[in-house]
Amino acid sequence: MNMKKYFGIGFSVFSLAFMSACSDSDNDSDDMIIGTMQSYQLTVSNLTSNQPLSPLAAAIHDSNYTAWSIGVESSIGLEKLAEEGATTEFLSEATAAGAYVNVSGDGAIFSGESDTLEIESAMHDEMKLTIASMLINTNDAFTGAQSIDLSGLEVGDELSVLLPVYDAGTEANNELAGTIPGPADSGEGFNVVRDDVNVVSRHPGVVTDVDGYNDSVLDSSHRFDAPVAKLVLKRTQ
C-alpha cells in the first residue's frame, strides 16, 4: 500500500546503514544480513471520541535512537509532529540517529477508524519500532510507542499494544481559538515559540468549554482518557 514511499526512503537508509556497518569497526555486533528482509504490518485504530490522529510516522531502528523521554525536551521534529501532525522532520531525525527504514501514513485516522502501514527492513541485531501520531484537536498531544522490540517476533506473530497519550510540552494547553490545527478549530499548527514546560510528560487531558473554561474551542466530544489508540503489529515476512 505504501510501497512507493518506504522504498523511496528505504533504499537510501539501506545503503547508509550498510556503509556505517562496514566503516564502524567499533560496532561489529551490528551485523546486517543482506538479503534477509523482515516485513511488518502496523495497524493503528483510533479509540477516541473525537480526536482524529495525524498521519502515522514509524521507523525501525536500534537503541541509539530515542524519539522522546519523559522529562526531556522535545526535538524539533517531535514538536512539529505534536503541534501540527508533520512527519517529515520527525522521521529525518530518526534516520539521522541511524534508523534503518521509516514510513509515514497517507492521511489522518478519524475516530473509530484505523490505518495500516507496511514496513520492511533488512535484519539487524537490534530491531526496534517507534511510531507516533498527533491528536489533532489539541495543542500538542501525541500518542505512540517507542522501541518496541521486534527481534523475538516470528513470521505470523502478532502483538497488540494500547497506546497512551503524551504532551510534547512545547505549546501551552490553552485550547484557544487559532491554536489547534484539527477540525475543532482549524487554527495554527507548528509555532517555533515554546511557551510550555518544555519537557515531555503524559498528557493531563483537555478541559473543554463544558467544564467551566468558556474560552476553550473544544467541546465535550474532544475529551479523552487513555488509551487513545491500539497498535496491532504483525510480522508478515
Binding site: S45, N46, L47, T48, S49, N50, S111, G112, E113, S114, L162, T208, V210, D211, D219, S220, S221, R223, F224, D225, A226, P227, V228, K230
Partner: protein, 234 residues
C-alpha cells in the same frame, strides 16, 4: 481441571484429545477500582476465538447496547451461548459498588479458550467496563489484568438521569449512590464516534438542580483502569 478432563474423557472418548487440551477451571476475582462508579450485574463469558462480546472500532450489537445503556445482560447471554459460550451471570449478585470486590469461584470454561467480561458503568449513558477476548493461559497460575472503560457509541452522553435504560432511549437509568443532581440541560445531544471506543469520561457539574449534567463532577469521574481482574488458572 484434572477431574473435568477425566470426566470428559470417560463420557466422550472421541473428543478426548481436545478436552484434555482445553478444559479449564478458573477463579475470577473482579475489583471495581473506581471511587464513585457502580458496575451493573457482570457477565463473565468464556468463548472461542471467533466470538466477541464487543470489539473496539466496530458498531455495538443490539445486545451489547442493551448491556451498556441499561445493564441488561440477557441478550448477550443468549447470543453468546448460542455460539457455545459458557457464562457466569451476575457473580456479584447485583451491583458491584465502588472499590468493592467480587469472586467467581470454580468457573468451568469447558473447551472455551477466551475470557470476556462486561458490565455497565453507572451513572453513564452507555459506558461499560470490558475485557475483550483474553486468551486463557494453559499454565496454572495467577494472572492480573486491568480493564478500561468503554463507550458503546450507541447513545449521546447527555448525562441526564431520567431513568432511560432501554436501547434507543436517551438518558441515564440511575445513580445508585444517590449523589446525582436533577434538572440538567444535557452535555451533548450527539455521539461523534458511533463505534465502541475508550470512554472519554463523565463531565458532570456541581449543580444540584441545574447545569449541563445530573452527574456530579466531584464524585462520578474516573480514569482508566476502572477494574482489576485476577484470574487463577487451576
Amino acid at each position: 481441571m484434572k477431574i473435568n478432563s477425566i470426566l470428559a474423557m470417560s463420557a466422550l472418548p472421541l473428543v478426548m484429545a481436545s478436552s484434555i487440551a482445553s478444559a479449564q477451571t478458573l477463579d475470577v476475582k473482579i475489583i471495581n477500582l473506581t471511587q464513585g462508579m457502580y458496575f451493573t450485574p457482570l457477565l463473565v463469558s468464556s468463548h472461542d476465538a471467533s466470538q466477541h462480546l464487543f470489539e473496539t472500532g466496530t458498531a455495538a450489537s443490539v445486545e451489547l447496547a442493551a448491556m451498556a445503556e441499561g445493564g441488561d445482560i440477557s441478550g448477550l447471554v443468549a447470543a453468546s451461548e448460542a455460539l457455545g459460550a459458557v457464562n457466569s451471570e451476575n457473580p456479584a449478585s447485583g451491583l458491584l459498588a465502588p472499590s468493592n470486590t467480587t469472586m467467581l469461584a470454580d468457573f468451568n470454561t469447558g473447551t472455551n479458550e477466551y475470557l470476556s467480561i462486561t458490565a455497565m458503568l453507572l451513572p453513564t449513558n452507555d459506558g461499560f467496563v470490558g475485557l475483550d477476548s483474553w486468551k486463557i493461559p494453559e499454565t496454572a497460575g495467577t494472572y492480573t489484568i486491568h480493564l478500561n472503560a468503554y463507550d458503546a457509541g450507541t447513545e449521546a452522553n447527555d448525562e441526564i438521569i431520567n431513568g432511560g435504560a432501554a436501547v434507543g432511549v436517551p438518558g441515564i437509568p440511575a445513580d445508585p449512590g444517590a449523589n446525582n443532581g436533577t434538572g440538567a440541560s444535557g452535555v451533548t445531544s450527539t455521539e461523534t464516534n458511533q463505534t465502541i471506543h475508550i470512554h472519554r469520561g463523565n463531565v458532570g457539574d456541581t449543580e444540584d438542580n441545574a447545569g449541563v449534567s445530573d452527574v456530579d463532577s466531584r464524585v462520578h469521574r474516573w480514569l482508566n483502569p476502572v477494574a482489576k481482574v485476577i484470574v487463577t488458572v487451576k
